[in-house]
């Protein structure tokens, strides 16, 4: 089995998915990252005033500049600027999963809501050629530390999946093993393009 085409997805394609993306890319995985929400949402000065951007149109660079402009100190302090800086070096802009035409072997969701959205999308797509894709969910809280730890887990999982001789046949076992090891709730299903 060659390299797997991987997708990691969180809600805004900012923190968790990008952390995993960066980590996996460094390890040489064939990976893309996505958000599944309607918009890219970043913490604002207060919880009820988030910074909201459109997927695909706003680049990380744009957002970076925007935030610098808005309140450089705040966003430096809470690490947003640092994160965006990292992100813009990985890819252009946040991508929304639902609009992506690419095919994957495995899609890893980092939040149950994201999993639901992605399943909803995959199941309502017009079926094309019946190629299967495994969708896996692993809950990771949306903060820096958890994102870093989460990326390690994701990498571990991907390594295990790639080691499979026959993914379809072994994924159940791998996931059961992995679940007991990382002690996180794993959801898994299969969809067809």
């Amino acid at each position: 089995m060659g390299r797997l085409k991987l997708a990691v997805s969180c809600s805004s394609n900012m923190n968790r998915s990008m952390e995993a993306h960066s980590f996996l890319a460094k390890k040489g995985f064939n990976v893309q990252s996505f958000g599944s929400g309607n918009q890219v949402k970043l913490p604002g000065p207060s919880p009820d005033r988030p910074n909201v951007y459109e997927f695909n149109s706003a680049t990380y660079n744009d957002i970076y500049n925007d935030l610098v402009m808005k309140d450089k100190t705040l966003y430096t302090q809470n690490g947003l600027l640092h994160m965006l800086d990292r992100n813009r070096r990985i890819k252009e802009s946040p991508q929304k999963f639902q609009t992506c035409e690419d095919r994957f072997d495995v899609i890893i969701c980092l939040e149950e809501r994201v999993y639901d959205q992605i399943l909803e999308d995959l199941q309502t797509r017009e079926s094309v050629d019946g190629q299967s894709v495994h969708v896996i969910n692993m809950d990771i809280q949306d903060n820096h530390e958890e994102a870093t730890i989460g990326a390690l887990f994701v990498c571990d999982l991907c390594t295990r999946l790639e080691a499979c001789e026959d993914l379809d046949n072994e994924i159940d076992e791998v996931l059961t093993d992995f679940e007991s090891k990382c002690n996180r709730n794993i959801l898994h299903t299969i969809c067809f393009y």
């Binding site: 089995m1 060659g2 639901d116 399943l119 909803e120 199941q123 309502t124 017009e126 079926s127 050629d129 019946g130 190629q131 299967s132 026959d166 993914l167 379809d168 046949n169 994924i171 159940d172 996931l175 059961t176 679940e179 709730n185 794993i186 959801l187 898994h188 299903t189 299969i190 969809c191 067809f192």
Partner: protein, 1177 residues
Amino acid sequence: MTEAQESVGDLVASEIQEAQAINNGTCDQRLDHLRRAQELIIHHDPSGSLLDNFLDEMLEFMIDSDAKIRCFVVGFILEACKKEMELIKKMGSNLLFMLSDQSQNVSVTKKVINVATLLYPLLLSWMSKQKNPDQETELAWENFAVLKGRVLHQIESENEGIRTQTFKFLESCILAQTPKTAQSEGSKADSMSLDQVPRDHRFISYRKLDLEAKQYIDSLLQQLSAAHISSLNLLTVISCLTNIARQRPEYMEKVLLAFETLHVNLPPTLGTSQVKSVRKELKMHLLRLLKHEASSPFHPQITTLLTDLGASQQEVLRALPSDSELKRRMRRPGESADAGAPQRKRAKPEEASTSQVVVEADDDQEDDDASAADSETKRTQSAIDITGQYLYDKLTAKNVADLVLVSMTMLPDEMPPNFQSSYTPIAAAGTEAQIRHLSRMMATQFTAQGVGPGVEQGKREAREKYLERQSAKMEGAVMPPTPAHISASSGESSMAPPPPPPAKPPGQPLYGVQGQQKASKRLIQFGLAHITRPMQPEERSRMIQFAFEHIINSEKRALQGGGATAHQKLMVRLACRFAPGPLTSSFEDLLLTFIMADQKSRSDLAILWVYETYAQFQGFTQLATAAEEQDRYDRYGRCLCRLLETLFERGEHKETLFHKILLEAPHITPDALLCLKRACLDKVYGAFGMTTLREMILTRPRQRSELLCVLLDFSYYERPDLKTQSLETAKELFQLDWIRPDVKEFVGTLLENVLRPQPPPVLFGEEQGRPVRMMVWDEHTIRACLYLYLNLLPLDHSLIQKLAEVYALANTEVKKVIFRVLEAPVKAMGMHSEALLLLLDNCPKGAETLAARIVHLLTERNAPTKELVIRLKNLHNSRGTDVRSLIPVLTGLDKAEILKALPKFVLSAGMQRSVQGVFNRLLTGKNIETGAPPMSAQELMVELHKIEPKTNDEMKYLISAMGLLFSQSNTYTKDVLAGVIQTLLDLDPMPTLMMRTILQALTLYPVLNGFIMNVLHRLIGKQVWTQPKLWEGFVKCCQKTIPQCFQVLLHLPPVQLRALFLASLAQGEDIRRPLIEHVRSLPGHQQAHVPAEILRTIMEDPTTAATKVEAEVDETALEEEAERQMVEDEDEEEEAREQLLLEEDDNDDAETPQAADEVEQRRPVSSESGDSPVEDI
């Protein structure tokens, strides 16, 4: 062809070439080239000529070693077909080939299934549009049907991915083979559906496709209830079924029912998170179904299910279509929005009637099955509805409270993980909807267990239908086979009903209560695996035993059906091929009993059994479980012996089977041999056993020696019949060259037994007839050992040598017995036997007596042959054997030899008893050369006289020997005696005993008086007085013959005359006076002839004249006395020496049987000739 096209063609060619050329490059590079070529062929060539041109080149990659390339080729086939469907005619077989990929590569297989999934709707669509399909198209369709079948087989595959793809393929098939309806949604407008297939298509049957689709759906639905399904497959099936439900709403109800069942009966193998995933999947799909316009009749079910799955009210509401839309839908004809159980109940008869119509309209079997299966689902549904309604009525507050209380006792100690993960608080407890839902859930479980009013009704209906069918069958209508489900349900009803499921408290999800009962509670379609439970070991073995008995008892039917051989094989193999254990041994018992019940007609079975075990022992047939060679051999032996023993115990060892087994068994074990032995010992039918034994010895070279032992062992048994049979058989076998050595060896060993200090234990035992073990040999035991040997002796004379060897070493007792039993065999051999002569030549040391005995036996009635004589003589000379050994051959000896031997006979104390025999032989025997007796009577007597005895004893023996002769008055007539005396007179010196003989002759034959007077005269002439013994006899003779002797006396010299007077006077007889009388009475002239000196001697008293005479006589007498004294001394010495020797001889004699015989016999030697000193055997 335009230039552009040409250049594209060149490009394609170069790409393909490069792809072929890169051998060592990565396969990605090659794939790139191929992809480019494909792109060019498919998308840059409107004419389609390139596809034709390069198709074969592309397909060549089909056998590439790299799986990715092969996958690509499969993909290419799809693309090519999409572009030009005609090509399926060419490539259908390629797909089939790739499916059975030679390297069994999973990814290729999956790719093929995937391509088939996509290709099938296109193909069906294209086919159905063909107005005038040619042969090739039809062939392509058939080819694809084969492919389809192969793909569907993969549903049983070990590989999850392949199964997943197969489910998708099923989905695709179902969608393509079912008609689209107005409510179908979610598929492309041009997607294939059954309604596009023309009903009058030449080779595609609309009905068949329809039926197939229904079967496919059932098989998909069945997957949901399979206990072992993996989460991945389960998810796939759920998604497939949802797709089907959405696109073919007619199956919505079935699918929903299946989901409902699944929800309460999730496979027990799923882990916690897998359960969660499945529930999530179910929820999402149900939400999507909820949006479907055809789902409105099922909204109550779906919403309750969703609530159970944890969907929030909001979610449900969001998914529900708006009220206005609902209303719009409600106006549609058909089913109303709130259609519940009653409506569906009403729908049922309609369904039944339609299926009835179908049966009438189309007699197609599958169609009937399918409709039956369909109505089966309907029935289950309606059963749930009926029971649900029934339960709903029962779920009053009081009942529910009771149920809760009762079920409290059954609560598990720990909360099961499934329950924990799936439990959702009941939102609307106690409401009408919730009660209805609960009753429905319970009804589902009830129905699954086969209880409740709904099921009862269903059964009733099924039974009615079944009876209807049966009666139709009876009337002769050709009916398709009864569908399995009917018999299954009737079968279920005949079984004891399972215990009712424990009641559930309201609101508690049913599946979480008791893990162990979960599997059995699931609502499932009929499947043997589901309604059966593992049996208890005892029950199982009992059932197995019953089954075996049943097989056994069906012999008659097997015979009638011509399957007797198969039946026998079956029984034997069942009994033999499994590992030994209680079950197998009970099989064996049954089989044995069966055979014995009618052993005459089941002998083949018995033989088959024996052979089967033997084949196993030899490893010709495989056992179900491996066993050691020893075990296998034991098994064989056991089988054989049990058969034989049982036959024996039943007294059937006289029957053919017993012997057949022994004769046909490939190998006879020692135990089996024991059985045979026992059979031989049978008093009545032993002969049968013997015959079998004999046959076996003849036909079983490998076991010959063992078998021979058994046979020959009987020879030393006491029972005469056994002995005889054994001997007769042995004699018969002995004639056969290839068996003789074995027999010889055996008898040899048996014979050697007698050399042991004690009789061997084998001789003793109940069977042998000698129950008490004896520690010393006696005649019986010795005879037992010799019996066979001696009887075989006449058949093979060379055995005598061995006998002689043994004899030489044996003790006296044995020797005696051998002597006694020897006669018959030796006589049978005859004296011309080479072996006998050889024995005489090489007689083992110590066996000389045996040789002598043999010769004696042989010559008892027949004259010895020359060879015999020579050999015996040699033996006598070289070994110095007892002279008696020469007696038999006396007639063969020349006179010198006889004369040499004669004194040995006559003078020896030990020989006295033989003397008569010797004389007989000498006088009556015929010399083997001359034919005349070896000696005449006269000769013999003379020769006896010539013997000079040295002691008084010898003298005594000699006298008695002569006495023997004298007593034979027939032989020794007066003439003979006269001859003898005449001859004796001529001898010089005259024998001592001569006077005794003369006196004897005188006594026997007084007529000889005159002759004897002459003899006396001659004696006087020979100066008889010089020999005192003779003189003594002379005096006696004169005394006896008074008065005849007076004439003789007158011729004596006066001195001798006076001595005679004195001697007779000393004996109380006075001869002088009668003599004086005689002289005085003489005529005168005769008196004148009497010399004066004589007269004077006569006249004077001898006592007065004695002094003078005595002086003379005394002088000589003194000398003689001294001389005699000396001789006597010497004689005494000699006598003592001889006495010593004799004692030694006696000792020797004691050991020789002859001596012993003589001791034993103690009977007087009769005058009859030919009487042997040895008793006849």
